[in-house]
Symmetry: C2
Subunit: 174 residues, 2 copies
């Protein structure tokens, strides 16, 4: 048991409050991992935070921006990177307080595909994903990253569902 | 973090060698849990081993038995209980060697239903299930307890697939 156990945690921003706030489900998944797995045994674990940014979801994620030249888009991407970095900062700071080693990085693409690709590249011992606990009707529209990862990631996956008392009125919000 | 983390591990017998031998996938799931989660932190975890026995799968699980009276069936059930206990003994002994607390018990019924029912009753922090890693064609015939638990158990579930080099020639064997 010389080597540390490497736990990859997929994190994303709050869909209600946006960057740099973590979604309720990523925050829950992180806190569960610390409380139930890492506990005081901080030297035995390493957390690997992966944040996947979806490129240009609708092309207008910020109403006060005007895109008039390729440079504007570059700036936008640059700004997104910064906002993503602030999201990761939240988790890295928490780990620093607790005293557990961590790494964090950003990738771009379809979250479910990118997470599985990063698992293949980085070989974590297991993957933790938060889940909004949507009903079957809502799943049709928003898809579920967690279900895809459980099926396709090349490592064990543990899905942490949001607690019922943390679910917003519209459970698609997170 | 005063309370220990309670990990339920569903275990079954080897389909090739029978009782008291654990299946490759339950042995793998147990060893993974010790190596990657418990590690040396034995005082922080408690393992709860659940073995579900399927009653009278085909009515003839032992060719040298003749059932001629209700008492014969009682004796068979008694013998099954003993064989199940020997399976659990394997895991309890291992925990004892390692120094991690555990409990183990047997229930009867459809494994996937009983596991989810026991999760509801016992409230483990999470559930570990082994999986034979069957292809879609094989799944149709043997069903997968792990997929059912991932969907229906009222706690986080982590599925540990068998390593490729431990898969028997016919992957349905375990």
């Amino acid at each position: 048991m010389g080597e540390v156990t490497r736990i990859m945690v997929a994190v994303n921003q709050s869909s209600l409050k946006g960057y740099p706030h973590p979604s309720i489900s990523s925050k829950g998944a992180f806190e569960w991992t610390i409380k139930k797995i890492v506990r005081h045994n901080v030297a035995s674990f390493n957390l690997l935070f992966l944040h996947v940014q979806v490129p240009d979801e609708d092309g207008f994620d910020d109403m006060d921006s005007i895109y008039a030249s390729p440079d504007d888009f570059k700036r936008m991407k640059q700004r997104d990177r910064i906002r993503g970095a602030h999201l990761l900062e939240y988790f890295v700071n928490k780990c620093h307080e607790i005293g557990v080693g961590c790494q964090a990085w950003i990738k771009h693409g379809d979250p479910k595909e990118v997470i599985c690709h990063e698992v293949k590249r980085v070989h974590p011992d297991f993957l933790v994903v938060g889940s909004r606990g949507l009903g079957p009707f809502q799943k049709v529209f928003v898809g579920t990253v967690s279900e895809f990862c459980v099926k396709h990631a090349e490592c064990p996956v543990i899905t942490i569902k949001r607690k019922a008392d943390e679910t917003p009125q519209d459970p698609v919000d997170d």
